[in-house]
């Protein structure tokens, strides 16, 4: 069958993606679509990269060796996701170095949940379980993204995220079956994280009014994602004897969850760089980007130095150790 000709016709392109069509890097893309794609995918990459910091703080303090290893593996996964995602952004025209520069300068955004402190091991459990659960709902919807290279890497990302959720759930289960003090750590963490979790999927803008949905970058609306999160996870929270800190939360007769209006002002303030840990984490990220510049210089140069070294040419000799 002959392909639908979507070249240089924005309306035909729009109809094509709205009909479930997917496009590749080499296809003609309307400028607005490309700009929106870069913004969306870059924010996802930033979130993966910044998302490791709240957990990184606990690698050294993890309660057991097994937890330490699992947390380290998770951090590796998420840095790997950032690498894959920035690669997709690069093919859309924005180099990784510029993404990183915009991230640390505060020009580009990252998800609200990564602007908050990780006070106790309970927070680590709630992040690994519920923050990742909220994230995987968005990411699973991206498997149908109209931009195929992004949808493809999402397969691997979702696959790895399912390990993260299980790991998080295991951390939580260990604590709720532990001492009353450990149970309390989980409840306190849940109380702290519920607000940011309810803000996570964004304001309930109608899908039709959401430009990311219009171009089928996202395949579901914000409220749809939040409802899916509540449907899937509120029962799992309650069955452990935990309390959701929202007296208005309940599933109505029509199957839709009612809840206290999330604090949208807080969400806006946090994602525009005014979260409780924004400055500190961006400073840390900036420090590491500068500190590791030499690695990128060495590895991503034109390769001459590396090839030269392997062929035994012009390798600067190490100074002989001094003998005392």
């Amino acid at each position: 069958m002959a392909a639908i000709d979507i070249s240089h016709d924005e309306q035909a392109f729009l109809e094509y993606v709205q009909g479930g069509g997917q496009v590749e890097t080499t296809d003609w893309l309307p400028e607005d679509y490309r700009v929106k794609l870069v913004k969306f995918i870059e924010m996802h990459g930033n979130s993966e990269l910044m998302g490791v910091l709240p957990e990184r703080e606990w690698i050294l303090r993890a309660p057991t060796l097994q937890r330490k290893l699992a947390l380290t593996a998770k951090v590796q996964d998420e840095v790997g996701h950032a690498q894959l995602i920035y690669r997709v952004v690069e093919d859309l025209g924005k180099p990784r170095e510029r993404c990183l520069a915009d991230l640390v300068s505060g020009k580009a955004k990252f998800h609200n949940v990564f602007h908050y402190p990780t006070r106790t091991w309970g927070d680590v459990g709630v992040i690994a379980w519920l923050v990742d659960a909220a994230a995987i709902i968005s990411q699973k919807a991206l498997l149908k993204c109209s931009y195929a290279p992004y949808a493809r890497i999402m397969k691997k990302i979702c696959w790895e995220e399912s390990f993260h959720i299980l790991h998080g759930r295991d951390v939580i289960l260990a604590m709720v079956t532990g001492t009353p003090g450990q149970f309390e750590l989980v409840q306190e963490a849940l109380n702290r994280w519920w607000g940011p979790l309810m803000q996570f999927h964004g304001n309930p803008i109608a899908a039709e009014d959401d430009p990311m949905y219009l171009w089928r970058i996202k395949s579901q609306g914000n409220e749809e994602a939040r409802q899916q999160f509540l449907d899937g996870y509120v029962p799992q929270i309650l069955e452990l004897g935990l309390t959701v800190p929202d007296p208005k939360l309940r599933k109505r007769d029509d199957g839709v969850w009612g809840y206290t209006e999330p604090d949208w002002a807080e969400l806006k303030s946090v994602v525009t760089g005014h979260g409780p840990r924004t400055a500190e984490r961006l400073a840390l990220r900036a420090r590491f980007i500068a500190q590791e510049q030499w690695v990128r210089d060495a590895v991503l140069s034109d390769g001459r130095r590396l090839d030269g070294a392997r062929q035994g040419a012009e390798v600067p000799a190490l100074p002989a150790p001094e003998r005392g």
Partner: protein, 93 residues
Amino acid sequence: MIWEIFRRDRKGQPFEHAGSLEAPDADFAEAWAREQYGRRGESVALWLVPRDTVHVVGDWADEFDLKYRRVDGYSIKARLKEARERHRLDGAA
């Protein structure tokens, strides 16, 4: 240098495009690809292909409308109906 990565899920399955990575040579590309696509044993083999070496074919002109070679080139509904109808009438006569 950009490398396109293809992975094979398990024996007997075709290689499938998985993503791309940037590396200066094949050794680095391999180290990266092993980490990204194989560290949990999720692939039995990888193909690492320099993007520049891929010869792409993506345009399929059909100026001569060669539909007669495809199933969508044949609409038999009306003729079939006519043939059945004729047979029914012949039988009745």
